[in-house]
């Protein structure tokens, strides 16, 4: 079965079986129809496998997930997890007793940080109002790479070797020592703020700067970096 060749789906082996990712573009119904065909045509290849499906940004209800589960079950495939960055979709999946995250999902199997959460631009902006900022309540360690297409708020440190990429602003309630890129889609009004702003490299839109060498004994003050007169400047946050 050559699922990789179809642009609508991709499938790869993970520790817990297989992960099937639907392309962001087609609606759930189209993607589902396509998937059902593929499975019915060449389902033997996948028989007896455990599968997790990444629905991306689709809002999918319990009935739709149930229907998908049935198609899989009829072909001897166990659906055990639904991944999505939509809480509504995850909640529907949980109602059916399915998992909604992979163990250790912040890394892929080789231990490389995957950019998470992987968001897609799929034309469902209307329902997206609540999803345009994300709170990360932990320290981001070296080797992790986070991407979000809105604002990012981190309560914790961003260690050297970690990278945060956001289309909007980045706010770090802690020490920012890694690489940070705000306004990654070209928004020059984006800002980066941190209680201790000492990034390895700071990017806003398509400008790059490095922090001046720091005096070890300095007492850190909260700062905000933004673009002023064509360059990135950092100012003490004292509003």
């Amino acid at each position: 079965m050559n699922l990789e060749a179809t642009s609508q789906l991709s499938i790869k082996g993970i520790r817990d079986g297989l992960l099937l990712t639907l392309a962001p573009q087609p609606s759930f119904d189209d993607a589902f129809a396509n998937l059902s065909n593929e499975i019915q045509n060449q389902g033997d290849f996948l028989r007896n496998s455990r599968i997790a499906v990444d629905l991306g940004g689709r809002i999918v209800n319990t009935d739709q997930i149930g229907a998908m589960q049935e198609v899989f079950a009829n072909n001897g495939i166990a659906l055990w997890a639904i991944l999505s960055h939509r809480e509504a979709t995850r909640s529907a999946a949980r109602d059916l007793g399915l998992a909604t995250r992979l163990p250790g999902s912040q890394m892929d199997l080789q231990g490389n940080g995957v950019r998470e959460p992987v968001k897609t631009h799929d034309g469902e902006a209307a329902a997206d109002e609540l999803a345009n900022a994300i709170l990360i309540n932990e320290t981001v360690r070296s080797g992790r790479s986070l991407y979000f297409d809105g604002h990012v708020v981190i309560v914790g440190d961003v260690n050297p070797g970690a990278e945060i990429v956001a289309d909007g602003n980045v706010i770090v309630w802690g020490k920012l020592s890694g690489l940070v890129h705000a306004g990654a889609n070209g928004d020059e009004s984006a800002t980066v703020s941190a209680l201790d702003l000492s990034p390895t490299q700071l990017r806003i839109a398509n400008r790059i700067t490095i922090a001046p060498p720091v005096d070890k004994k300095r007492v850190p003050v909260p700062e905000t970096a933004c673009i002023k007169d064509e360059q990135i400047v950092a100012e003490a946050w004292n509003r």
């Binding site: 163990p103 250790g104 999902s105 912040q106 890394m107 080789q110 231990g111 940080g113 320290t139 360690r141 070296s142 080797g143 992790r144 440190d157 260690n159 050297p160 070797g161 020592s177 070890k216």
Partner: protein
Amino acid sequence: MGHGKVITITSGKGGVGKTTVTANLSTALAMAGYKVVAIDADIGLRNLDVVMGLENRIVYDLVDVVEGRCRLNQAMIKDKRLEGLSMIPAAQTRDKNAISPTDMVLVCDQLREEVDYIVIDSPAGIERGFQNALAPADQVIIVTNPEVSAVRDADRIIGMIEAEEKGPGKLIINRYKPDMVARGDMLSIEDIVDILHIDIIGIIPEDEKILISTNRGQPLVMQNGHAKETGVAIRNIANRVKGDEIPFIDLAVKDGFMSRLRGWVTS
């Protein structure tokens, strides 16, 4: 499943002292009366046998066990100096792909029936060899040195350990030099904890006797009289692994954090 506990010693960066810590910690636990087996998971670059002075007694190795050429017990080299201590060497002529994480879990599950502690010496790096060493771990100990690159790699490794839900792990700071820290020329314990945010299970001072003992194949904790401080530091780690509370965090308030820790290192 048996009661044995699997402790994986890892670091990310090479050369920080994983093998030395593995040899000495295993020895210290065996000296305390436990049955201990040390496993060298650094396939293709084996060292632990040399440091433990058991090199000339190798007949079978870990890959032989995994590939069914011998029974597990045949690959366990008993240490003649110390009852209860044995080690399983790595194969020197193969590479990391010769075994899988599942193989390690199976080997360790068998060993859990027979011994109290299984101490795994992980290879450097974040690839297959590290994944092999991590898979069976009940507890992970990260070894680092007070230098920026080692701490950076430790941070990466800790993130991966957490992602595998084996976290958070405990930290050993090896090759610590109080005088250099006092001069501001070395990362202090505070600096390191500030970045890594994990509990310290031990601090081992820089000591040339470690190098001498390593070259001789006699783990330093076995020797009496020499290198007292370092030996105590290592025995303290063994005691903490056993679950004993050896105070050093509760020394709060009053005098500075540094002087408290320095007092602990030499005590």
